[in-house]
Symmetry: C2
Subunit: 343 residues, 2 copies
């Protein structure tokens, strides 16, 4: 089952030259005569020679590959981010190695360890829900591994970061609900430890405050697994529905929470937006086709992936250690549809 590749040696033998000559000719070195180059190139072509990147990696101590860790690939937001990552990586000649944490800290540790030991040149990471201890990432970072964090980030690690303005997104969404006459606005959020959760909830809180609306602790439900487990969402939504002062709208702070919430409401036959208004973070491209058309805060996911990759490759390819890091904050888009407009 091996796959015998043509090496520089084969060309050398075929041409009666030394391997170094071949190597130089292939790299178009100026110290090789035009004729020899010509000869070598032709022969390489004929034998279908392909340089062995493994050998190169061993020599150069870089693999031209980058590792990506997300909680889940089969998620509209993350798959779009990966799409963006892949497209830039492709343009720059890098491979993308994808792995999933499934929101598990242990799995994230293993993934990262695996990727770094596989000599990826850099890492693009969105933290797992369970992750509170960051020493595994810090250790890599301290040892010089280029890292870019996106979406679920942490201030504890000083490196490039790419996020959207989560505060703004949630603030605007909440305000949108308020302006549309909703008064008892609940929030369905992910784990409290996630950066996106606190940022988004802060926007939600401040919008309520700014409009003099009451903020009630029981109006904020956390789903530790952020929607990965549907039953958790269902339970949380049900809890909201049984409050004495039942909310008249819900804002959801992530993709899976949004669909989980919608699914629960629809299964219970609750009419949206009449009984309950809905707005949520979501990157589904069919939000407009949903019943009712879903008002969403959409993240420029592909852009985020592209930005993260550009920043990462900047680190990877930098000659000198980078000390100044950038937090790139993109703008989420509020796509207004029927689910959050009282009729």
């Amino acid at each position: 089952m091996k796959f015998e590749a043509v090496t520089i040696k084969d060309i050398a033998k075929a041409l009666g030259l030394s391997t170094s000559t071949i190597s130089r000719a292939l790299r178009d070195s100026h110290e090789i005569s035009a004729e020899t180059k010509q000869l070598v190139l032709e022969c390489a072509e004929k034998l279908n020679y392909k340089p062995n990147p493994i050998a190169l990696s061993l020599k150069e101590k870089r693999s031209r590959s980058i590792g990506v860790v997300v909680c889940e690939i089969a998620n509209s937001f993350f798959s779009q981010v990966i799409n963006g990552i892949e497209s830039i990586a492709y343009d720059r000649g890098y491979n993308v190695i994808v792995s999933q944490s499934h929101e598990s800290y242990d799995r994230e540790v293993v993934d990262l360890q695996f990727l770094s030991s596989r000599s990826v040149d850099g890492l693009i990471i969105s933290l797992a829900t369970e992750t509170t201890d960051l020493s595994h990432i810090k250790a890599l970072h301290d040892r010089g591994m280029p890292i870019v964090l996106f979406d679920r980030i942490t201030e504890e690690i000083n490196t490039h970061k790419v996020i959207v303005d989560n505060y703004r997104g949630a603030y605007d969404a909440t305000e949108h609900l308020i302006k549309n006459g909703f008064k008892r606005i609940a929030a369905l959020a992910g784990s409290e430890f996630l950066s996106i959760t606190s940022e988004r909830l802060a926007g939600y809180n401040d919008a309520l405050k700014a409009h003099g609306l009451e903020y009630s602790k029981e109006y904020v439900q956390h789903c530790y697994y952020g929607g990965m487990v549907f039953s958790e969402v269902e339970e949380a939504v049900n809890k909201l529905l049984t409050l004495k002062k039942r909310p008249d709208a819900i804002i959801t702070t992530s993709d899976k929470l949004t669909t989980g919430c919608l699914r629960t409401l629809k299964r219970r036959g609750i009419s949206i937006p009449d009984e309950i208004g809905m707005i949520g973070f979501s990157n589904y491209d069919i939000a407009e086709l949903v019943d009712p058309p879903l008002t969403v805060i959409r993240q420029p996911a592909e852009e985020m992936g592209k930005a993260a990759t550009e920043l990462l490759l900047q680190l990877v390819e930098s000659k000198r250690p980078v000390k100044e890091f950038e937090k790139r904050v993109l703008t989420p888009e509020l796509q207004v549809r029927a689910s959050a407009i009282k009729r």
Copy 2:
């Protein structure tokens, strides 16, 4: 920006032993004394030694990574497949390198060439729409590269394949429409050259025939880019809508075609299923939340990814050349909802 790793040499130096002894001790060779092993292991632990897989790859001519080529990552079906691939690969200690063809033949060629030259141990491929010439894949296959094809496959390459019973899925879906009183059933399909297109259309045709329904060529519209380009879908749907004998139902043969068709119909204010019934291949997990709830033929995407990976690793790890190949045909599921039921 380098990342200085501890090597076997460092341990050797620290312990005053030779690198070969260290190597053997680490691999728990029987020709090393228990004490030495103990010593080496402790030292390795202390120095946080991690074997360099690149060096190993160079030696063993395998990289413990597999390459995946799909047309698009940000697609519910493919992201679910990749999820399945990643999970098995992870369990078996392999990395997954993902790349996208974006339905382009040229891009597929480059992707494959890139991946194989990066010494992936095997490839999991779903063909691009544009691909009709298979020589690039054949060449790899002939040179011994383990390959598993899924979803969009070809009979021209004799290797393991994983698909669903596309014929059955389309047949059942069409029959479902017929049994629900639809009589003029159109099909919106992808490129004619794709295996999934012909298989699914065959099921569609045969179901029509079996029920004595007229088959009209103009009822079958092909979108060459299979929904990647929305305008193409829109145009095709519009063409169907302007036929003198306007269809009363449409079956769509892929994820993007399904959403594209639905989007077009909704934008035009056409009521589903009253004016036109709809059924389509789709792996969106929110098909039930769409308006109207969408009847879909759902593929067991994650299973497919898992099966493909298991078959691939079987090839990769086989000692002797494999001559017998398997075509694994999974069963698609018809999820019946409102969009295909006359009311």
